[in-house]
């Protein structure tokens, strides 16, 4: 097996498993840039996967292959609303943001399985008939060498995720909205003095994070898992948080980190086919993202600085 053939296995697989991480990590950026810690991404992703699968199952008879796409949109809306619980608790009621996020994870795990049992009478759903398929992009996939590596056998959602990362970069760094969002996360009192509605911006940040995490979960469910059960989302959300931090709260950084984590994940699965990598114990590849995140935070891989006001509830008039 030559090097290019190896790449043709690894890269599509990495793009495949990275997409849900990219969506969710981008969501995390909106919330944390506005100053609200969102440990609840895991639960939001879980609820997104749940909504995605249930909607697909309900819609697939009438909509056919479009069902998963509509389901992803539904999941986005539902999770934006679901994230309001975290927003109300941590912004309005000034609950500890980490605790509230943990509670959201509990709630999503309990509620989704409760509803699955109620609707389907068993602990997991059926498999969906139509999934988001891997496609080869016509034209581009015929390009010699890179066509086979970059544009074959990848679900479209992966390209949407990558494009979105650049869009988010533009929104956060080049628009007034992005500037306001960052300012309430860095120095809410200064922002308030300038007439920016701190509470409203934070609500928006959390709801966008809910929306994107919902999309991430639904994409995972409709392209990778294809059904929903208790273990469908196991750590994907936390991995996305890791990607966000490893990417230093920057959309493009998060994109790179998520792709890298996707690579590590896919290597631990596809690695058995590939020389050299098959000799590395798969556990090392599985824990690599987490170890690297710790190293990144510590400053060994370039120091990651969180938004200044992250985790601090804003109280008017308090210095």
């Amino acid at each position: 097996m030559n090097f290019l053939e190896v790449l043709a296995i690894i890269i599509p697989a990495a793009l495949y498993s990275a997409a849900p991480l990219i969506f969710t990590a981008l969501g995390g950026i909106f919330s944390e840039r506005s100053g609200v810690v969102n440990i609840g991404l895991e639960g939001l992703m879980m609820f997104g996967a749940f909504t995605g699968i249930v909607s697909t199952l309900l819609l697939q008879d009438s909509l056919g292959a479009w069902a998963p796409w509509v389901a992803i949109v539904i999941a986005a809306v539902v999770c934006a609303v679901f994230s309001l619980i975290h927003a109300v608790a941590s912004i309005t009621l000034k609950a500890d943001q980490t605790v509230s996020g943990v509670a959201l994870n509990f709630l999503a795990a309990g509620l989704s399985i409760f509803l699955i049992k109620k609707i389907f009478g068993k602990g997991q759903t059926d498999f969906i008939q139509f999934r988001i398929d891997k496609v080869s992009i016509p034209g581009l996939s015929d390009i010699p060498v890179i066509g086979k590596i970059l544009f074959s056998n990848v679900p479209i959602t992966s390209y949407i995720a990558i494009a979105l990362a650049f869009a988010v970069w533009y929104i956060i760094y080049k628009t007034p909205f992005g500037l306001r969002l960052r300012s309430v996360g860095e120095h809410p009192m200064a922002a308030d003095t300038m007439g920016i509605k701190v509470v409203r911006m934070r609500y928006v940040g959390v709801m966008i994070s809910g929306m994107l995490a919902g999309i991430g979960g639904a994409v995972y469910a409709t392209s990778i898992a294809t059904n929903f059960a208790a273990g469908t989302i196991a750590g994907q959300g936390f991995l996305a948080i890791a990607a966000m931090i490893f990417g230093k709260w920057h959309p493009i950084g998060a994109l790179g980190a998520a792709m890298f984590f996707g690579l590590a994940q896919s290597l631990s699965i596809t690695g058995a086919q590939i020389p050299v990598i098959q000799d590395i114990p798969s556990v090392l590849l599985t824990i690599a993202p987490y170890v690297l995140t710790i190293l990144a935070l510590t400053g060994f891989v370039g120091r990651a600085e969180a938004p200044k006001a992250l985790g601090v509830p804003y109280e008017k008039g308090r210095r």
Binding site: V37, I39, L93, L104, L107, G110, I241, V291, T293
Partner: protein
């Protein structure tokens, strides 16, 4: 009433109680919406918690790791640290206890303490890392702990597969000389899996109270929790206290793992997902208002809910995940105590007129 609300001590008891009641009421509403009978549901739930001697035994058994996890969370919290890594520390503690329990041949008097201490040491080492990184590099302990959780999850299952694998997704059983199982306690409770771990748990609760409230070191730890800068100014070594607090917290979490390894299960599985006990510890600590007695009561309550959930499901068809929802809501209510304070404050003012 108004006076009561202003009294912090009363609020410390009132908020968890009100939250637990609100959580149970919300659970009843969910049962109603789901088309179940809430009265019947709760009746079978409380029956499963303490209706029979066996139920009580199982409730206390389930409470032991929960209480230790709660103590771990609360101890770190008193120093201003949020130890969300209890789950990972519990897993490495579990593995250490099972390894010592399996690999050595010793008389029980030495074997049990050795296995228990190994678990505590493993948990302490695992928690030392986020503590050290916080003290030395000012890295937030929450993120490092979460990452350490996953490292623990995958590493322990890989280590079991490589060195301790008995087949069927589990490790070898521990030797009888390391077991906390008690035929006396089992007989007392109609063959439940209740084991001597409950004594360790109660001792741990006392140790936590004693260290924090009766020693100079505990005073330092709490001072750092109240105000790091003031503590620094007063000559307290903040960094060292952070590391120490995390390590002690991790030791408690490791003990929680030993409860599972040496008590309930006598082996460790090759997990692919978290046990959840470590995260439940956060709920326990919150509901118990971070006090030793509160944690014991809260863990009894949550432990009972969790052991009784399957019976409720069996008797009334209510999915056992209802319990997880109720616990989640209780955490929300306690964490949002702002709201409860406000409502109680309003009620107090209305009453005073």
């Amino acid at each position: 009433m108004n006076k009561l609300v202003k009294n912090e001590r009363v609020m410390m008891i009132l908020i968890p109680v009100v939250s637990a009641i609100l959580g149970l009421i919300a659970g009843a509403v969910i049962m109603l919406l789901g088309g179940y009978d809430p009265m019947l549901g709760y009746q079978s739930l409380f029956d499963g918690m303490f209706g029979t001697p066996k139920a009580i035994g199982e409730t206390i058994r389930a409470m032991t790791p929960l209480a230790l996890a709660g103590i771990a969370v609360a101890f770190a919290y008193k120093t201003g640290l949020f130890n969300i890594g209890v789950e990972g520390q519990l897993l490495v503690g579990w593995l250490a206890s099972v390894w010592v329990g399996y690999a050595f041949d010793l008389p029980a008097v030495i074997h049990i303490p050795l296995a228990v201490l190994a678990a505590a040491a493993a948990g302490a080492v695992w928690a030392f890392i986020p503590g050290f990184l916080k003290a030395k590099f000012h890295v937030h302990e929450v993120i490092v702990s979460i990452m350490m959780n996953y490292i623990a999850l995958y590493t322990t299952s890989s280590l079991i597969r490589t060195y301790l694998y008995a087949g069927n997704e589990k490790s070898y059983d521990i030797k009888e000389s390391a077991s906390l199982a008690s035929s006396f306690l089992a007989q007392l409770t109609d063959n439940s899996r209740l084991h001597y771990g409950i004594l360790i748990t109660i001792a741990a609760a006392i140790v936590m109270w004693f260290i924090l409230n009766k020693t100079a070191k505990g005073f330092e730890l709490r001072a750092v929790g109240f105000n790091q800068h003031a503590s620094q100014y007063a000559g307290i070594n903040v960094g060292r206290n952070i590391v120490l607090s995390m390590a002690i917290s991790g030791a408690f979490a490791g003990l929680a793992g030993a409860m599972e390894g040496l008590g309930t299960f006598q082996y460790m599985g090759t997990f692919t997902a978290f046990t959840g006990t470590g995260f439940d510890g956060i709920a326990v600590a919150l509901l118990g208002a971070n006090s030793a007695i509160g944690i014991l009561l809260a863990s009894f309550f949550f432990g009972g809910l969790q052991t009784a959930a399957p019976q409720m499901n069996f008797m009334t068809g209510v999915p056992s995940e209802l319990i997880q929802i109720v616990i989640a809501l209780i955490i929300f209510f306690v964490a949002s105590s702002y709201l409860i304070r406000w409502v109680l404050g309003r009620a107090g003012k209305g009453g005073a007129k």
